[in-house]
Amino acid sequence: MTDRLDQTLTDAAAQAQRVADTVHVDALLTRIEAGGSRSPRWVPALAATTVVALVVGGAVVRGQRPLPPTIDGGVLDPAATATPDPDPTPDATPGPGASCAASELGLRVEEQDLPDAVAALRRAIDERAAACDLAGVAALTSPDGFSYSFGDSTDVAEYWRGQDEAGEVSPLAAIRQVLATTPDLLAQPSGEPGGPSYWVWPRLFLMDPATADPAELDAAMDEVAATGLHTREQIEDMVTGAGAYLGYRLFIEVPAGTDAANWTAFIAGD
């Protein structure tokens, strides 16, 4: 009986290994380096519609991982950085005075202690979002690779517009809400000397519930809840149920040894 059990388990282990060998580990690594971008099926079911929208499906990673910076130096010229968007839809650029969920948030995105280029990019994203300028916001994404939550489109503006029109969530409002939180620096997570670092909003995403100071963790959860992005209960579900904050977060990359800033991700669900 023991021999038979041993043989059965050994055969089953070999079968599990064969299944594992069919996984494309390079593609998996790309998603990992993007901060995780495909929504796992084990993410707890969350009640609110907006959050359900976050956790279904996978993400699209457009282009390659970081190449030359899109923004150099300490001062951002939004007009100059708008070039990656080849054909902004005219009616998607309402401009000042326009009204949308993002403009009606009643949210003030305060200045934060950030490197100049990062601060300028953050400010530009927020200003365009507040002006309901969806194409303008999309134009600020890094042309060298940008991760965004699930969808089958390769055009982030089109994808966000679809989300907005479907009433699932207002991406521009969510972007502003995320940017209103406190960020934290993820320093060279690749462990390689020339690897990029990332400013990540909210800082809650980088906190490990198992090791974080409970008061700080609590404050970080409160901060996200205060933006209205998710309820406190939803956030706690993510942090305690899945072991990490899995809601919307935004990444701005700083290539090593530069003063540049690239907006590389606005993702949720993993």
Binding site: A20, D21, W42
Partner: protein
């Protein structure tokens, strides 16, 4: 014996008995050395490739984003395995919880849990969590008692006992299936 960040050239990669040198190592090296065996572990623990891929992605993502700290551990690969084991356990508890919730909403509905496939791993997943982890690490990754203890953070004597109990219980469960 390969280190935790050096892929084994013959057969499957293993968790090393030998501590890593102090200081962070490249994440990519650790990933390359561990992703295949960790994926096999996750396949056994979850019962399907898609769920396994999600768990492995999540575990390595956590290691990646906290690499400054995790990369300094003696065995970062063991840390990743522990995350996968814990996530698989959480996932299984959640599936059971969701099934119960659905039954409460509609007692008439028949809820099929996604997991129990008719195979030996389905039987393993019905074992107590720690026993399931021990037996899976032993057979899928060919780990010794000491190595399993290093991954799970459980004493070697307890691990030995877990393995023994797991085998005994599995033999009983499978014996019934084989006889039926």
């Amino acid at each position: 014996m390969p280190t935790d960040t050096q892929p084994e050239t013959r057969g499957r990669a293993r968790v090393s008995d030998r501590p890593m040198p102090a200081g962070p190592v490249p994440f990519r090296d650790m990933y390359d050395a561990n992703v295949r065996p960790v994926m096999a572990l996750a396949v056994a623990l979850t019962g399907d490739r898609a769920s396994a891929e999600d768990l492995v992605q999540e575990a390595f993502t956590r290691a990646y984003r906290d690499w400054e700290r995790v990369g300094r551990y003696d065995r970062p690969g063991a840390w990743v395995r522990r995350v996968v084991i814990n996530l698989s356990h959480s996932r299984w508890r959640r599936l059971r919880s969701e099934a119960r919730a659905l039954r409460r909403l509609d007692p008439e509905v028949s809820v099929e849990m996604a997991d129990p496939a008719p195979d030996v791993w389905a039987a393993v997943r019905r074992l107590p969590h720690r026993q399931a982890a021990a037996i899976t690490l032993h057979y899928v990754e060919d780990l010794s008692v000491a190595q399993i203890a290093a991954v799970t953070g459980v004493a070697e004597g307890t691990t030995k006992s877990d393995l023994h109990r797991a085998r005994t219980r599995l033999a009983e469960m499978l014996d019934q299936e084989w006889l039926s």
